[in-house]
């Protein structure tokens, strides 16, 4: 614990705070105005929550994000762990492929998606988690890669193997607990991106919580501002909980 006030850090944080919080708090002040009664109140929040669609869309957005996370956990995490452990020759290829979505502007991707998929894919909202997965892939991949690199995965595996554990036992009792930290970061990024995705969703004519806010704006501006506040606060809370719950590995890097 340093007693002395760190001047450069304090200045940086103050400037950042002004930049971040002036628009945020202005919008918040707006959202609790009650023009008819005068003064302030939670009226617009209550109005928004009482709308029939509110829970429908919020739940829909959450489960779409959850499926995206599930795809990441079932497909990406095992594949990357395998790539890290095996000396597969296709690793550089998959490396490049996973970063490629970064090159494609989402609008262009949306046009491609709209003209490509067969009806049975287009007709189900389940196409979205797979597309969100692609959008999040470069970030998820990099986070997981850095995480896996900071763990002596190979050494641990060899140790477990030479101590007599079989493959399954090694995976369940050694690998999974160790990569947990790396996985949490990946889950956080994928979740945040999926739950807030707007461009692709709206261009493919699907409705989720973010696109619903735009729709509500036509009906009640202040209600939509209230919803916007929620759309910022909810992912922030979820992610904070997720990253704070994740245990800090004492062996990791500097500090």
């Amino acid at each position: 614990m340093k007693r002395k006030l760190d001047l450069p850090l304090t200045i940086t944080l103050s400037v950042l705070a002004l930049f971040v919080f002036i628009p945020l708090l202005s919008a918040f002040e707006f959202s609790i105005r009650t023009p008819i009664k005068g003064g302030y109140g939670w009226d617009h929040y209550l109005w928004a929550i009482r709308e029939d669609e509110f829970f429908y869309y919020i739940i829909r957005s959450i489960w779409l994000a959850a499926i995206t996370v599930l795809i990441t956990l079932i497909v990406l995490v095992p594949t990357m762990t395998w790539l890290q452990l095996s000396k597969s020759t296709i690793r550089p290829f998959i490396d490049g492929l996973s970063l490629l979505p970064l090159v494609i502007p989402v609008v262009a991707f949306a046009v491609g998606a709209q003209i490509s998929f067969p009806e049975f894919v287009k007709d189900t909202v389940l196409e979205l988690p797979f597309l969100y997965f692609v959008l999040a892939l470069p970030y998820a991949y990099r986070t997981l890669d850095i995480g896996l690199n900071s763990i002596p995965l190979k050494t641990l595996t060899e140790a477990a193997r030479s101590a007599g554990a079989n493959w399954w036992r090694t995976i369940i009792t050694v690998i999974i607990p160790v990569i947990k930290t790396a996985v949490v970061g990946t889950v956080a990024i994928t979740f945040a991106l999926s739950i807030g995705e707007y461009t692709l969703t709206v261009l493919l004519h699907w409705d989720t919580f973010p696109t619903w806010i735009t729709f509500v704006a036509d009906e009640s501006i202040l209600g939509a501002v209230a919803l916007s506040m929620m759309s910022l606060v909810i992912p922030f809370l979820v992610l904070t909980v997720l990253t704070l719950v994740a245990p800090e590995r004492s062996t990791q890097g500097r500090k």
């Binding site: 850090l9 998959i94 492929l97 502007p105 046009v111 490509s116 707007y198 910022l232 992912p235 704070l244």
Partner: protein, 299 residues
């Protein structure tokens, strides 16, 4: 120049046995299948269709039209807003990342990284509301500035103008800079600055000879990524402008929704392909620099 050139499969030296194929490739097949169907397929199809005329014959006309008005100004404005928003956000973002990563306690660094993650993803209507509330005609900051004698609405300013849009874009560009530049800062080792000091270097010497040369490539890389992000932003522009500024993502969106009809059915696809090419000019160098600096960033 299309980015989805695939380096032809695994090396086929001799007839690799099935088992070695299974060992080498099979576990990656589910991932490859998803990337193939949900990413490579739509992008390839987009590129293919962009060369099709209304009668489904090969043509370059779609691309010719993308270089004419209003699409020409669309590209110019999009590139301009990408470059300017990246240029303005890069240095403050880098400095902020430096102080936070080198001087901040763990809890603070974590909170900031979560906040940056959320803020870099804000956009669209929520972001537009925040800025209407702060810098709109009745906005809080507008009132404060007016009180101090600066009426920002005295001239032509509004949030729907190019300048307004630029200010709003900074709100997600700055956190993005903090996110993409932080890894380079974390990789700067304290031993290096200590070693420099032991050899008699001043703080300034250290920065000129070691710090800046080491960080510069990552700085440029981050700038390029920010450019790509500003260049292709759709949601925010959609919420703030009413077609008064020509921007390529908006033009594509309008063509896709059929709000605007063009004589060429596949014009929107060609615009998309040109966007990909422009974005590739920024993102591919970004990835290359990242890969290069990853070498010394490893420990």
């Amino acid at each position: 120049m299309t980015p989805n050139v695939i380096e032809g499969g695994a090396p086929t030296r001799g007839r690799a046995s099935l088992t070695s194929f299974l060992k080498n490739v099979a576990p990656a097949l589910p991932l490859l299948a998803i990337i193939g169907f949900f990413f490579l397929f739509p992008i390839s199809r987009l590129i293919y269709v962009s060369f099709m005329s209304n009668e489904n014959t090969f043509t370059l006309d779609n691309f010719r039209t993308t270089m004419q008005e209003p699409y020409r100004s669309g590209f110019i404005n999009s590139i301009k807003i990408g470059v300017l928003s990246a240029a303005i956000a890069a240095l403050p973002g880098a400095v902020a990342a430096y102080f936070i990563e080198t001087r901040g306690p763990v809890k603070l660094r974590r909170t900031i990284s979560v906040m940056s993650g959320v803020l870099a993803n804000t956009g669209g209507v929520p972001l537009a509301f925040m800025f209407y509330a702060a810098l709109g005609i009745q906005g809080q900051l507008t009132k404060v500035l007016k009180f101090f004698g600066w009426d920002i609405y005295a001239g032509q300013f509004s949030l729907g103008t190019f300048l307004g849009l630029l200010i709003v874009y900074l709100y997600f560009q700055l956190p993005l800079m903090v996110i993409v530049f932080s890894p380079a800062i974390i990789a700067l080792r304290r031993e290096w600055s200590e070693a420099a000091r032991n050899l008699g270097a001043t703080q300034l010497n250290y920065w000129i000879k070691i710090g800046i040369p080491l960080l510069f490539p990552s700085f440029i890389a981050s700038f390029l990524l920010l450019f790509a992000s500003g260049f292709s932003a759709y949601a925010t522009a959609n919420a703030l402008t009413v077609g008064n500024i020509a921007l390529t993502p908006m033009q594509i969106g309008a063509l896709l929704d059929g709000n605007v009809s063009a004589a060429q059915l596949n014009l929107g696809k060609a615009l998309g392909v040109v966007m990909i090419v422009i974005s590739a000019f920024a993102v591919i160098p970004y990835l290359a620099i990242q890969r290069r600096s990853a070498r010394w960033q490893k420990r």
